[in-house]
Structure formats: structure tokens, C-alpha cells
Symmetry: C2
């Protein structure tokens, strides 16, 4: 839980009202943003865009397995949240490019650290899964 | 993409084979683990468990809005991946407690950094959403 801003009270003695973001609260915007950002395709699109600008089809190839519909929906949500910028280039034919905004880049950097950690821990995860399956099959 | 281990070649001149984890590859274990860890309930359960051991119902109250079924499924997946430990305590009545494993703690710490960043950036996200909605409604 992070207090994201505090409104200065106009009258001395008034309580200072703080706007608080809490991902644990189901109605909080931060939780919806977290869902957009940490959804499977959200993570992959943001981390891919760290590599530079992508056109739609190139990004779709990079994010192995995503459908056209899901990628379009993911990018639209990330654009609405202010993490991704969609730019129509004045070329013939017109091209559409996607890039990270500064806010998107900040969050993508953090996701990249997480992705690298997860990739590095895959052997441990695989070992744990094998152990779990062997133990629970016997029951 | 992270090379997670390299098998030493037995014969000089053999190519060194590297086991490579790549979340962008749809078949990779790291992508499935990422989905488990970054799923909405996965993030919240892991970050909540940073606060200490939780019994099922207390954790369900902490993770506002999760159903019993979804939380049970989330915890089982995280246990199988080796991130969460499920312990049956020898009390009367028997109690079940969930804690993070060292691997789970490492990943939860990373998720916590991400959550704090997202919570802090909520005002920017809200502003961007309002701008997007105003712009796109006019079209």
C-alpha cells in the first residue's frame, strides 16, 4: 500500500486526506493496472517493446503464440493506461508502430528483472514440479 | 532469454549445449511459471505471504475478492512450482499454514517492487485513461 499523494488541508486542523493505492483492494485502479501489466500478454508485449519500436505483425511474431485479437486488445489496454504509444507513420502505405512511453519503460524494466529471475530459476521450478507430481500421484 | 545451465562437453571439440529458458517461447516452462506467478491471484498471494505465514481463510480475507476455489487453485500451483510451502500443523483441530519458500520469497520480493511501483504510478495511469477515453469517445 502506497500513499500516492496528500492533499494539503486548507484549514489548519483539518485532516490531511491521502489518496492511497492498494492492489489488495478489489476496487483500486492499481489492481486493474496490475492485471493489465502482469497479464501473460501484457508482460510479454512490454518486455518485447524494451527492444525498440515494433509494428503489429513483428510484435505478434515476437510474442510467440498470441492471437491477433489478444495482442490488439493487450496493446489497446496498455495504450489506455499510458504505457504504450501507438503511432501512425506517414508512410505509403501507412504504418503503425508501437513504442513504450517513459512510464511504460519504467514498468517494463521492472518486469524484465522479474522475467530474468524466473528464467534463471526454471531448473528449480522444474525439479519442484517433478517432486510434487511424484509425491501427489502416490496418494 | 537466459542460459540457465551449460552441460560440459565430454569430448573436446563438442559443442557446449546450453539449456535456455525463454519466456517468449510458448512451450517454455519459464512462460508457464511466469503465468502462474504473474496471474492476478498469484501476485497477490505471493506478496501477501511476504507478511508472514497465513492460514487459508486469513489469506482469503487479505486477497480481497478471491474465491475459495481460485485461491486454492493458485496456492496449489505455487506449491507445485516450489514457491509456496503448505504445512499441516499438529494442532487440534489441525491447521494448515502457507508460507513462502526461499525461492518464493525471492520472487515475491521482486513482485513487491513491481507492486509498489504500480501503486505509486496510479495517478499517471488514471490521468492517461481519462485522456484516452475523452479522445477516443470523440471519434
Amino acid at each position: 500500500m502506497v500513499a500516492v499523494s496528500a492533499l494539503p488541508s486548507e484549514t489548519p486542523g483539518d485532516e490531511v486526506e491521502a489518496v492511497v493505492a492498494d492492489v489488495f483492494a478489489r476496487g483500486c485502479t492499481s489492481r486493474r493496472t496490475m492485471e493489465n501489466v502482469t497479464g501473460k500478454w501484457g508482460v510479454l508485449a512490454l518486455v518485447a517493446l524494451r527492444e525498440g519500436a515494433y509494428r503489429f505483425n513483428a510484435l505478434r511474431r515476437r510474442v510467440d503464440g498470441v492471437s491477433e485479437k489478444m495482442l490488439a486488445q493487450t496493446l489497446q489496454t496498455l495504450e489506455r493506461d499510458g504505457l504504450v504509444r501507438r503511432e501512425v507513420l506517414a508512410t505509403i502505405p501507412a504504418r503503425v508502430e508501437y513504442t513504450l512511453t517513459p512510464l511504460g519503460a519504467e514498468i517494463a524494466d521492472q518486469l524484465f528483472v522479474l522475467v530474468e529471475l524466473l528464467e534463471a530459476r526454471v531448473p528449480q521450478v522444474v525439479e519442484s514440479q517433478a517432486h510434487y507430481d511424484a509425491t501427489h500421484a502416490k496418494r
